[in-house]
């Protein structure tokens, strides 16, 4: 439960605590401590309660409700009271019972896994590079570049997705540009191509279908299909996602860069550090908290990709852009299986916790 935002927040909380203590020890802070505390106590609860009420109604209650629904069989159309207890059936359908449901869930996990592996490093890397360049003191037009890179982030994701449908159309910009750069005409039907990238690579060396051992299935999906790589359609969405989020993360890196005291970098320069050393030995280590934040937010965001899939492909072609988040929507609102939808949501929640936990371990060990 306290995987992600709590990490930086907890740290800042520690600092906040000492801050508060420092404040009360300051001039005038000590007098009539109990009186002040009493008044502050009332004010504290008074100030916090509106936010708490909203949190309870729209966060805590839904979480508990979802947990309950995930153990029930409910269409979402009839009143909730008409639902019947389902035990752990919803979870078993997804994890242990052979069938289409489990197969689709496996596909969505595979797709999203490739999505995460592609998008998180790409956006983090790009954002860092752009931030470092834009942060240079002697760069003309910094404000312009900063605004340009941030522009996609402030635009509605659905609107941006439709722009990209247009760009990736067979006669669209992407194909035109590629045709100009590469020999021959590129006529890719980006959003309707279900070939996995790894499958395509293997095809170039003559492997066209599953070799024997890869025909075995795991969660109703053959190993051959597990290793397919992201489909061309999914890759288009990955490009879109990277394009959209890079600006936001660049801004976070910029904030991190500006929090590095210039004295530290100047000291390193005086000590004779080259630019490369300066970046790898001083700047990057000092950016670690920001890096942690960016990767964490990236992981959370990419495991929940929905808007782009909804607007661009609806899970197709051949379910290669199906993601768990989209599956939640499809099962809950189109297939009237709210219980199953809630169960998927909780499994995704666990996956996110595991991923952020792993990432925390890795970053901590490096520290």
């Amino acid at each position: 439960m306290r995987a992600t935002p709590s990490a930086p927040a907890a740290r800042s909380r520690g600092r906040g605590g000492s801050e508060a203590a420092g404040g009360s020890a300051g001039p005038g802070g000590r007098r009539g401590r109990s009186g002040i505390r009493g008044r502050q106590g009332a004010a504290g609860w008074l100030f916090v309660s509106p936010a708490l009420v909203l949190l309870a109604v729209f966060m805590v209650a839904p979480i508990l409700l979802a947990l309950w629904v995930s153990f029930r069989d409910w269409s979402g159309l009839a009143p909730l009271s008409a639902s019947t207890p389902a035990g752990s059936d919803n979870y078993q359908d997804l994890l242990t019972h052979t069938g289409v449901v489990r197969g689709d869930f496996a596909k969505s996990l595979r797709n999203n896994l490739y999505y995460v592996i592609g998008v998180v490093p790409a956006q983090t890397f790009l954002a860092l590079i752009l931030a470092v360049i834009v942060n240079a003191k002697l760069l003309r037009g910094r404000t312009f570049f900063r605004a340009a890179f941030y522009f996609p982030s402030v635009t509605s994701s659905i609107a941006v997705a439709f722009i990209f449908v247009f760009l990736f159309s067979p006669t669209g910009v992407v194909n035109s540009v590629l045709s100009a750069l590469l020999p021959g005409r590129v006529n890719l039907v980006w959003l309707d191509d279900s070939d996995g990238l790894i499958h395509l690579l293997l095809r170039t060396v003559g492997v066209d279908s599953a070799p024997g051992p890869l025909r075995h299935e795991f969660l109703d999906l053959s190993w051959w299909d597990w290793i397919s790589g992201p489909s061309v359609a999914l890759s288009s969405i990955m490009i879109l996602a990277t394009w959209t989020t890079t600006g936001t993360f660049m801004l976070m890196f910029l904030a991190g860069l500006q929090n590095i005291p210039t004295e530290v970098e100047e000291a390193a320069e005086v000590d004779g550090a080259t630019r490369r050393q300066l970046f790898w030995r001083v700047t990057l280590p000092m950016l670690k908290p920001t890096l942690f934040l960016v990767v964490t937010l990236g992981l959370i965001g990419t495991w929940q990709v929905f808007d782009q899939v909804y607007a661009m492909t609806s899970g197709g072609p051949q379910k290669t852009t199906l993601t768990p988040a989209y599956l939640v929507y499809r099962e809950g609102f189109q297939n009237s299986a709210m219980g199953r939808a809630a169960a998927i949501a909780f499994i995704v929640f666990v996956i996110i916790l595991v991923f952020t936990g792993l990432q925390r371990l890795v970053l901590r060990r490096e520290r």
Binding site: M1, R2, T4, P5, S6, A9, S12, R13, R15, G16, E19, A20, I36, Q40, A42, G44, W45, F47, V48, P50, A51, L52, L55, V57, F58, A61, P62, I63, A66, V69, L80, I129, L130, I133, V134, A136, L139, F145, F149, F151, P152, V160, I163, L167, T171, V173, S176, T248, M252, A255, W303, Q304, F306, A325, V328, Y329, G332, A345, V348, F349
Partner: protein, 185 residues
């Protein structure tokens, strides 16, 4: 030089899609098919604009968005600066518990909440009424997630009231640790 080239390339990649959609909105249908790539219209056709502005409910949708945006923003700024101030600067019993609770609830990814939020709204019968369906409530609690950010505000020795309030507002409004780069420099 290389640096500038990289930046310019990326700026083009980031801006071109917007320019193109703006240009496309002024192109006639045959032109869109014939020249989908040019970022300027040749025909200057206003039909698409007329369709959207005059022959659709677009003005209503825009109005709805404005209502939601304004209400949600006002509520967020107000409630979150209250809560954030209490959590960051006031000394009261239960503060630690409340803070930990807020943070742990916010760590739950929103996807888990799509279905049940729909349920809560439905149970409260808010979905069928206008104030309900355009109500900013569901998104409001998210804003509280930024309350903890306030704790990072540097302590000011003689912090004057208005100054401090401005810092808080800015931090809450900034929504993400973006307060840094937003500074002119």
């Amino acid at each position: 030089m290389l640096r500038r080239a990289v930046l310019t390339l990326f700026a083009v990649i980031f801006i071109y899609p917007f320019l193109l959609s703006l240009a496309t909105s002024f192109k006639s249908r045959p032109e869109v098919a014939a020249h989908p790539v040019t970022p300027w219209p040749r025909s200057f056709d206003l039909r698409a604009w007329g369709d959207v502005l005059l022959h659709s409910d677009f003005p209503l949708w825009t109005f709805n968005s404005i209502v939601v945006t304004v209400a949600a923003t006002l509520l967020r700024v107000f409630l979150d600066s209250l809560a954030g101030y209490a959590l960051a600067r006031l000394d009261w019993r239960g503060r630690g518990v409340v803070f930990a609770g807020v943070v742990s609830v916010l760590a739950v990814p929103p996807i888990v909440l799509t279905v049940p939020r729909f349920l809560v709204l439905k149970e409260l019968t808010l979905l069928t009424r206008t104030p309900g369906s355009s109500c900013p409530w569901p998104s409001t609690p998210w804003a509280s997630s930024h309350a903890p950010v306030l704790r990072r505000a540097p302590p000011r020795a003689g912090g004057g009231g208005p100054d401090r309030r401005r810092v808080h507002l800015r931090r809450v409004l900034a929504h993400r640790p973006a307060a840094g780069p937003a500074r002119p420099c």
